[in-house]
Symmetry: C2
Subunit: 194 residues, 2 copies
Amino acid sequence: MGKGEETKQAIVDQALELASTVGLEKLTIGTLAGATGMSKSGLFAHFRSKEQLQLQVLVQARQRFIDIVIAPALKKPRGEARLRAIFETSVKQWEEDLPGGCIFHAVSAELDDRPGPARDYLVDTQRDFADTLRRAAEIAIEEGEFRKGLDLDQFVFELGAITAGYHHSGRLLGDPDAEQRARDMFEGLLARSH
Amino acid sequence: MGKGEETKQAIVDQALELASTVGLEKLTIGTLAGATGMSKSGLFAHFRSKEQLQLQVLVQARQRFIDIVIAPALKKPRGEARLRAIFETSVKQWEEDLPGGCIFHAVSAELDDRPGPARDYLVDTQRDFADTLRRAAEIAIEEGEFRKGLDLDQFVFELGAITAGYHHSGRLLGDPDAEQRARDMFEGLLARSH
DNA sequence: CTGATAATAGAACGAACGTTCGTATCGTCA
DNA sequence: TGACGATACGAACGTTCGTTCTATTATCAG
């Protein structure tokens, strides 16, 4: 990896941390330059537009999510154990990996009414993740862990609701019990799926 | 109501609509002035700071939520029927009252890492609403509709997760089935509470 | 009707933003 | 090591933002 790619990685890593708290739009190029010890113009040259920078942040976030949450879960046994692994690392490692918590939840309200490449990429990321969850649940049915006839889309919706609620309660309201409540809710969902 | 209060109301009403889609920060005074047919300075004089304007938007949102969701529900019978009314109007009327959906969900990610009066007011609003839900569920226990020993805080958490998930799926992902999925999830929660 | 007061407009401000440009410095490989 | 492209910098641009100031118009009680 040449020098260019190296610093570009460092920039995007730093940008990811900032964006998780202040959002993609308020992540300013000047602030980011200060945080990385670079000049505005020197940093800007790596992206050529702020839109590109925002997109790279999401690309990096997706990759990091795969590394932290998805990849380890794929080493677990198929089915329910894999779903448990995804949920558990989502709550424990992923939500605490960045200072603002899960960046997808942090920026989704910001992007949901602003069309563009960033929004498209976020939607694609979320859809892809939803597919992964649906497939994992499907496997759990095949393995006999989940009952036949389980509504997979409803299962995925409820799983998404748990994490959305967890992010909301934990971040805005600062509920210290949010993690355990999300876990209990998840266990309830699994029990109902058997 | 004097002329001043009258136009101020009209301004905040318009601001509420814009803020539900673009957020509190990107709701710009120039844009708002254009939308209301006023000059920037003429509009600004009503608030004296943007922070005050943002706060008034949240105050108005809270009042409107009470008018649309809470007040009608209080006319329903105590207990489960009242909880049903709150949920149903939250999903049907409230989420469609503003172009960007529930403004509290729309701005919570924006405010959760930005301390200040706006954040404080939003948190207070959410806590107050959570108390209302908790009290309604408590009544349902007293009436014998919900089982004794039901974890009220967990109930409120799960209810919040349902609406958070609904907003997320409906807004960002544009899932047309989100409303029905949220309803099904709610019915499941009620059934488990009996 | 009239005068005090409130409400609005217009112009301008300083600051912050994304972006451009010319120049200097650094990394890399012949 | 020398040279050339890649990388970074400083200064400046045009815009947009919230905010202020001053002048003008509308409102409403006496």
